[in-house]
């Protein structure tokens, strides 16, 4: 997020930043003054006249005192310390003026570089409080006190006084930046309202995300039943359809069905409602060595290799809902690999995979024209992969009409929302393979 400071924080933050700027400049001024004092102590003057060494030591001490007070007020900006600094700094400026304006130093008036340094540091006090007005007030007070001290010092030294141009320039810079800040700070931020826009955008994205989930759920439930009813034509209501409708109505009405959270799925699986698909009891998962089931068992061993036989789903068993969908549709599922690889993903991600697999099986039952389907599960390279393969009619993925949204929402949409990918290979007359891969972990 790069939205900058909000309106309510801008005043304090900008004020602190400008105060820090003043403190840094003031510190450089005092440091330079100390360097000059030290240089005057240790280096011989280049001409016949020059600063007196004793005076230089006194100047160094005075500047040191001002620097100590300046550091105090910079790190602990209270009214008391600000006043102490201003009074102490005024005394220092007076003392320095007397020393600098002594005959022999070559300065004609108090408008000179040496006096400019402590004077500038005096007005760059920053001071207690936040905001432009208070900052300008402290700076003006510092400038006025410095000017008064310079006047008194010059009088005591018998020298000419003149307003210090550098200190006045520093005051001018402080006033300009502070006034400009006060004038421009709020309006632009308030009118741009970036933080409100950011909040609004986040809400829109969350809403859209949920709408897509809701759409996927609607597609899986209401739409599939409507299509089944339309396709069945007139005649007795198929019991499997009746059961499925009952199950889905119980999922939709009066529940937070749009969330698709796993705990809800689990809760729905555990619930024993009238005709609920998940109410089917006696589920068990066991591994066999590829042996086939008894005739008529809709879920039987896979085509080769170690396979898992699913006798019947439970609410909490991996892919229980999906296998329930297959069973209701009269489809035999051959499972290879260990369904417990799904334990490697978070509840919401698992719910998304289960719903996508259920949709794949539903598609096979409706469109493939076969009685069995392969489901292979695996875990590698930080991903959980599920492949659904059928030998049915197949289709040309390029020619799927725009208004067919099952693949987009119920399969691909769900998986991509969880950071995974869905790939579909299909050819008319050859069959269809859907591969779903999601990263391990997640919510």
């Amino acid at each position: 997020m790069t939205l900058g400071l909000p309106e309510h924080l801008a005043k304090a933050s900008l004020s602190r930043a400008l105060a820090s700027a003043g403190h840094a400049a003031g510190a450089v001024c005092l440091a330079s003054a100390m360097v000059i004092a030290v240089a005057s102590i240790v280096v011989e003057p280049v001409g016949e006249i020059g600063p007196d060494r004793q005076a230089a030591i006194a100047a160094f001490v005075l500047v040191g005192v001002q620097a100590a007070l300046f550091a105090l007020v910079a790190f602990h900006p209270s009214v008391t310390l600000t006043v102490v600094y201003l009074l102490g700094g005024t005394a220092v400026v007076y003392g320095l003026t007397v020393l600098v304006m002594a005959p022999g130093n070559g300065f004609e008036t108090t408008n000179n570089a040496l006096l400019a340094m402590p004077r500038t540091a005096l007005l760059l006090v920053g001071g207690a409080g936040v905001g432009s007005r208070i900052a300008i007030a402290w700076a003006t007070l510092g400038w006025g006190l410095g000017e008064a001290a310079a006047f008194l010092g010059a009088t005591a030294a018998g020298a000419a006084w003149a307003p210090n141009a550098a200190a006045a320039a520093a005051l001018g810079i402080v006033v300009i930046t502070r006034v400009y800040d006060a004038m421009t700070r709020s309006d632009a931020r308030r009118e741009t309202a970036l933080h409100r826009a950011s909040q609004q955008t986040r809400e829109l994205v969350i809403r859209h995300d949920y709408e897509l989930r809701a759409i996927a759920r609607l597609h899986d439930t209401a739409l599939s039943h409507l299509v089944a009813i339309a396709a069945s034509g007139s005649g007795p209501v198929d019991e499997r359809l009746r059961t499925a409708i009952s199950h889905d109505l119980s999922l939709i009405v009066g529940r937070d069905w749009a969330t698709e959270h796993a705990e809800e799925a689990e809760a729905s699986g555990a619930r024993t409602g009238p005709g609920g698909a998940n109410a089917a009891a006696g589920a068990s998962l066991g591994t066999r060595d590829g042996s086939a089931h008894a005739e008529g068992d809709p879920l039987r061993a896979g085509r080769g290799g170690p396979t898992t036989t699913v006798a019947a789903p439970t609410g909490t068993a991996p892919l229980a809902d999906a296998f329930g969908v297959a069973r209701d549709a009269g489809l035999a599922v051959n499972v290879s690999g260990a369904p417990d690889v799904l334990a490697a993903v978070g509840p919401r991600r698992r719910a998304a995979i289960e719903a996508a697999v259920a949709q794949c099986l539903m598609n096979v039952a409706r469109h493939a024209g076969v009685d069995d389907v392969e489901v292979a599960l695996g875990r590698a390279d930080g991903e959980v992969t599920i492949v659904v393969v059928d030998d049915g009619r197949g289709f040309d993925p390029e020619r799927v009409p725009d208004d067919r949204i099952g693949l987009r929402t119920s399969i691909r949409g769900r998986i991509e929302q969880e950071g995974g990918r869905a790939r579909i290979w299909s050819r008319p007359g050859v069959g269809t393979t859907v591969m779903l891969a999601v990263p391990e972990g997640g919510e």
Partner: protein, 381 residues
Amino acid sequence: MSTALRLTQQEVDPIGGVAAAPLVLIGSILSAATSIGLTAWHWSEVGSPVAAFAGILFVVAAGAVATVSALPARAPFTVDRLWFAVALAVGAAIAEYVSTVGANRYLYDDYGPLVVGVLILSLAPFSTWISLLAAGTVAAAVLAILAIGSAGASATQANAAALIAVNSVAVLALSAAGAAYSATIVRESLAWQREANAIALERDGGVRAGIVRSVQQGRVSVLSREVLPFLAAVMSAERISVADADRARELAEMLRRALKAGIESTWLDDLASSIGAARQVPIAVDDPAATAARLRSEQRPPLTALLSWLSSAERSESIRIAVAAEGGGEIVRIDVVAAAGSASPSRREVERFLAVARAVGVRGDLEITRENVRVEFRYDA
């Protein structure tokens, strides 16, 4: 390298960057005025009028470079622009030195250090604190050499160390001020952003619950009105009639169309309908491929803020937004055209939004006519 070292106020607080741009012009004007005033002040020391005028021209050029470089339309400001402006200002200081060489009694009335310092300070909102400090130090080093060259003519007979300190204090102090400002504002902005992100994440939980309810209520109301009663009737019936099958087909088509529309809409469609309904300003979105979904999360707020702002206070009568992917899907182009309302916006006002967009990697162009405000965003996907 720490993040704060590499960031400027313009990057972390784009509105602050836009607001600071005129301050560079003010700094440039003051610098030019100072150079003219002080040249006149010590004209008696000037031995080379050509160098004196050249110095003033250098100051004007440095100010112009700084001002133009900091314009919001040229964002982001780059470090080479800072160095270019500082180099010109240092050139002015050298020209001033040449103009008074051998006759400069007081370094105090030289404008060179002040001009360099003021330009560095005025560019503080656009530069990292470390580059400001580096520029100030290099400039101070050059000025130190000039100070030693002036020692012979000094009225104060001060030692070389003192002269160097006097001649470089202005540029060092103002550079330090700029660096401190930049470092503080970046630090505070980043701290706020961290806090705001944490608050937003926390808030998302509550928002999520409310949104889930409203989403499902919306969908359930559609369902309950038409589909649910029908499914419930079929579930409890003995037989499905031909009329039931036809009705199921009709409802399936209706539902499919609604679902398809839902899938193909993006956050931008939702935003347009939300703002349009609240502000009574028609907002049309033309985004057939749902390209708006490709904007990253931090790139959406500037567009949201712009639409929200354009649609308020009678700034627009209507807004059209066209989103398209170009260059083989490499570039996302968003064209916002607002038909001007009774209080049509100014270029400067709209520039703020473009500045924020630039800070998140979205280029933008603005065209304002009497009838329309046209903003074009481009983003390399």
